[in-house]
């Protein structure tokens, strides 16, 4: 047994343990399960850091662990970690204006299983494993988004999510069938051999097109992005954060596994499709965000636009494209979680509308400052991490010579600055309508926000991490 498999086994075991404790403990008190979940995830992260990144090991011919996979697993674990921390206080009595939630043990367990599904996606050696991983990563999200059982919005969100998700699964399988029809195998090795021999085979293209459409749903690419705002609004805030980071990272990982693995010979001919989708997605996301009044819907459109930027780097052939995507995902996760922490704190007393932020700059300057930093990071303003991250994403598109696409994306990011500034305007410039509000910021929230803030600043200034990612990807 190789140590490279440990994180995957550990998270699976952890999921069962948490679920078991929750099942057999009589009080169903979430403290034990919470402690177990976050400490386990932290341990898993440290474990991931200690593993060797320079080799690829295949287990049982179906499950492989490479440096790239480990990098993605880090992102998934970080994301799950902050989701758990975010949900701890949010679901209590005073945590949000909609009231408390029970059965938190199940919640943590489902998050862990979902993360295991994501692990599987990046470890696949065949289309079958890839499919199973994707489903394992998606189905728990349906449950999570409906977690507030009495809430109509939550139920609506989940229903939409299920219908759309099921449709995309169908399309994905349909795409698979073409590839299987052409190659006669689902294993990456065989597909790669076939694609190298016939890089222009129409069935492969057709299959890939359907796969793109299916993943487009998960990645909220235009024109498959419509579900996102409703789901983001309806789902509980921690789940929204989880969907916006983990689910997106999984979809990107899925594309990277395919496009730089078995279907790599087709990749040069897909560049225009990728650029087109990227351009359309960022434009639609940015234009959609302009008119939003609800913070979660706003974050949905913002994350659609971000998906567009990320996709832009996928057009790059060289390693830098992939390295910059992973780097950016880390940065994006930090900024997104910081924002969702603020949203969840504000929703203790007020609704999740823009106007709830009014007066934040005067009443809680620290919270407002962190909001400012995360907005600037998402908009790509130096010296925050978002700047260098976006710079590298766009640079990998420029490397292929698509300078006009870079101008287009950069102008798009100017549009995005407008709505990020709107949030800052609410927090700092506009006068509050309601009286002063005192927010209770628990220790967990304080420390998470502190970690995320340090992350947002350091990732932009310290070059080690990006260098390391590039080395591993190479």
């Amino acid at each position: 047994m190789n140590s490279l498999l440990l994180p995957d086994l550990f998270i699976l075991l952890q999921g069962f343990t948490v679920l078991g404790i929750d099942l057999f403990s009589r009080k169903r008190e979430p403290v034990v399960t919470f402690q177990l979940t976050w400490s386990g995830l932290l341990f898993n992260f440290i474990l991931l850091l200690c593993l060797p990144y320079d080799r690829t090991v295949v287990f049982f011919g179906t499950y492989q662990v490479s440096g790239l996979a480990l990098l993605f697993k880090q992102i998934f674990v970080i994301s799950a970690f902050f989701t758990v921390l975010l949900s701890r206080y949010y679901f209590t009595e005073k945590g949000n204006f909609r009231g408390p939630m029970r059965a938190m043990g199940e919640f943590y367990g489902i998050v862990l299983f979902c993360t295991f599904g994501m692990f599987t996606v990046v470890s696949a050696t065949g289309l079958l494993t890839l499919f199973i991983g994707m489903e394992l990563a998606t189905i728990p999200l349906y449950v999570l988004s409906a977690f507030r059982k009495g809430d109509d919005l939550s139920a609506e969100a989940s229903t939409k999510f299920i219908v759309m998700g099921a449709l995309s699964t169908g399309i994905l399988l349909f795409g698979y069938s073409f590839i299987y029809g052409a190659v006669g195998s689902l294993r990456f090795v065989n597909i790669l051999a076939f694609a190298t021999q016939y890089p222009l085979h129409p069935l492969l293209f057709l299959g890939l097109l359907f796969i793109f459409a299916a993943i487009g749903f998960k990645l909220t690419l235009f024109p498959f992005h419509m579900w996102a705002p409703d789901v983001y609004e309806g789902a509980p805030t921690p789940v929204t954060a989880f969907i916006s980071v983990s689910s997106k990272a999984t979809a990107i990982a899925f594309l990277i596994v395919l496009l730089y693995g078995p279907l790599a010979p087709l990749h040069p001919r897909l560049q225009y499709l990728i650029l087109l989708l990227a351009g359309a997605t960022m434009t639609v996301g940015n234009l959609g965000a302009l008119k939003q009044k609800n913070l979660c819907r706003f974050m949905a459109y913002s994350s659609i636009a971000q998906a567009g930027y990320i996709l832009l780097a996928l057009a790059g052939q060289a390693e830098m494209g992939r390295a910059s995507i992973i780097y950016y995902l880390l940065i994006y996760a930090a900024a997104n979680y910081a924002t969702f922490f603020i949203i969840s704190i504000v929703s203790q007393k007020r609704t999740e509308e823009f106007a709830s932020l009014r007066g934040l700059g005067k009443q809680s300057p620290t919270l407002a400052a962190i909001l400012l930093l995360s907005m600037f990071s998402l908009a790509g303003i130096p010296p925050l991490a978002g700047f260098i991250g976006k710079f590298m994403l766009f640079a990998s598109a420029a490397q292929e010579g698509y300078y006009f696409m870079v101008i287009f994306a950069a102008l798009n990011s100017t549009v995005s600055l407008y709505y990020y500034l709107l949030l800052i305007k609410e927090a700092y410039i506009l006068q509050p309508t309601a009286g002063p509000m005192v927010f209770e910021v628990s220790f967990v929230q304080q420390s998470s926000l502190a970690i995320l803030t340090v992350f947002m600043i350091l990732l932009g200034l310290v070059p080690m991490i990006s260098t390391k990612i590039l080395l591993i990807v190479q």
Partner: protein
């Protein structure tokens, strides 16, 4: 302390000052202001020290220097993000030193001029320091990435500074200014990346890139992208519309810094990045931009005539005067470039003086409409005299800094034998007459004439207010009478640029 450490501390100090303010209590305005003043004062001392060091080094190296390539002093080159060969690459030449000096003076005066600020002083001074740190950073960076990074750092705090502490339609102005400038940086961004990949050396180093002749297919779109991108901040017509609104809404210190220094970042970028690195592109586009810039100069002056708000008048005159900077650059001659650099300094000092005065006058009269004022000379002689001096600088009176700069620009531009250059020069010279109209008109309405009864009880400037005004007036006169010391400083820096531009 050696030169490169000095350079690093110059841009780092404002950030540290900003951080030092963070733990101070919100109500303790005096302490916050004192920290800011000490920080900017100490920085000014450092910059003066740097200037002296630099002057000594230049006079030593004067003989036998290879003028084909830019020679940097106090350089430091440390690799940063190796993924893209980004380096922390700093150094100075004469132009940078001069710009640092200008920034140091303006921010020192700016802090003094905002001594009376009451509301949320803590955030204000933190942001002001961040902004200044960004400006310093641009002037010392010789790596395109770091330059761009600092450029953005300098632009963004503007949104909050105008949005929170501004007057009038501040939210609109702040948003307009920020978005237009960031749209400009989108163009710069693409230009920088294109140079990085097309150069074949995968480097952001300005000096290395300056020795490369980029393919014409790149320069033909790269030059206008960079020139418009930076020119946007320099008030280039027709992208200048953020400037009047932004300057009029901004609080005093921010107007001073923005018109005085930030708009110079635009001119500096046009010179250092657009023209220096893409000279062939500049040759292709020079006539087009020359026409735009001439419109800039004349239109800005006419715009100022139409205005009745003192800040709008100054803002439009800034558009006109910053147009002169770009005009000098586009002359593509040695004298023209020198004029442009002189104009950056002269306009920086003049407009800082203008905005400081307007802020002080406004804090007393509570109006900026020139028709509602009148006879201010009787109640506030100090401010009024300084205002007239600033005005006379604007219309280019000999003996003041404006004359030196404008005369050099026009001579330099006329020296270029291209007929379009000559025609544009003649047209641009006419702007001086128009400037005289709006300056004398506003001085007449606001300063002279019968005193408005309302203003009988008003007092003249306090000591804290007199200090920045005195410094700026002194420097304007000094530069007008003895321009030689500045010209000596920049001579060595301009020659290699001209050689590159006309290669």
């Amino acid at each position: 302390m050696d030169g490169s450490t000095l350079l690093t501390s110059i841009w780092l100090l404002p950030f540290l000052t900003g951080m030092l303010i963070v733990p101070v209590g919100r109500a303790n305005h005096q302490l916050i202001k004192k920290i800011s003043l000490t920080g900017s004062g100490f920085n000014l001392v450092l910059i003066i020290w740097l200037t002296l060091l630099f002057a000594a080094r230049v006079s030593l190296a004067e003989t036998g220097v290879d003028t084909r390539y830019t020679v940097l002093y106090f350089t430091l080159n440390v690799p940063w993000f190796s993924m893209l060969n980004i380096a922390y690459n700093i150094g100075v030449d004469g132009i940078s030193v001069l710009m640092l000096l200008l920034t140091g003076i303006v921010i020192f005066c700016g802090v003094l001029a905002s001594w009376e600020l009451k509301e949320q002083a803590k955030e204000f001074f933190i942001l002001l320091n961040v902004l200044v740190g960004g400006v310093y950073g641009v002037f010392v960076s010789f790596d395109l990435f770091t330059l761009f990074l600092f450029y953005e750092v300098a632009v963004l705090p503007m949104y909050l500074l105008i949005g929170i502490w501004g007057t009038g339609d501040k939210e609109y102005s702040a948003m307009k200014l920020t978005l237009m400038l960031v749209a400009g940086s989108a163009l710069i961004f693409a230009g920088i990346l294109a140079m990085y990949y097309e150069s074949g050396i995968a480097s952001f180093d300005i000096l290395k890139l300056s020795r490369i002749r980029f393919p014409e297919s790149l320069q033909v779109w790269g030059f206008p992208a960079l020139f418009i991108g930076f020119g946007l901040l320099g008030g280039l017509f027709p992208f200048h519309t953020w400037s009047p609104d932004g300057h009029a809404s901004a609080p005093t210190a921010v107007s001073m810094l923005h018109a005085g220094v930030l708009m110079k970042l635009g001119g500096y970028g046009c010179l250092r990045v657009a023209m220096y690195l893409m000279p062939e592109g500049a040759q292709m586009w020079v006539e087009f931009f020359l026409v735009l810039v001439t419109i800039n100069i004349v239109y800005g002056a006419f715009g100022a005539i139409r205005q009745t708000d003192l800040k709008y008048i100054t803002a439009y005159s800034s558009v006109s005067h910053c147009g002169l900077v770009l005009f000098g650059l586009l002359a593509m001659t040695y004298v023209g470039l020198k004029g442009a650099v002189l104009q950056m300094v002269s306009h920086g000092l003049m407009t800082a003086l203008f905005f400081a005065l307007i802020g002080m006058i406004y804090s007393r009269t509570r109006t900026r409409q020139i028709h509602e004022m009148g006879g201010l000379m009787k109640v506030m002689p100090f401010l009024s005299v300084a205002f007239v001096i600033a005005g006379l600088t604007g219309l280019g009176l000999p003996g003041l800094s404006g004359f030196v700069a404008e005369a050099t620009i026009f001579i330099g531009s006329f020296a270029n034998a291209n007929p379009i250059n000559r025609i544009c020069t003649v047209l641009a010279v006419l702007s001086i007459v128009i400037s005289a109209v709006y300056i004398i008109r506003s001085a007449n309405f606001a300063i002279n004439g019968p005193l408005n009864e309302k203003f009988n009880a008003l007092s003249d400037a306090t000591l804290v207010e007199k200090l920045p005004i005195a410094i700026l007036v002194f420097l304007i006169c000094g530069m007008g009478i003895l321009p030689g010391w500045i010209i000596n400083l920049v001579n060595s820096a301009i020659e290699p640029i001209v050689n590159n531009v006309t290669r």
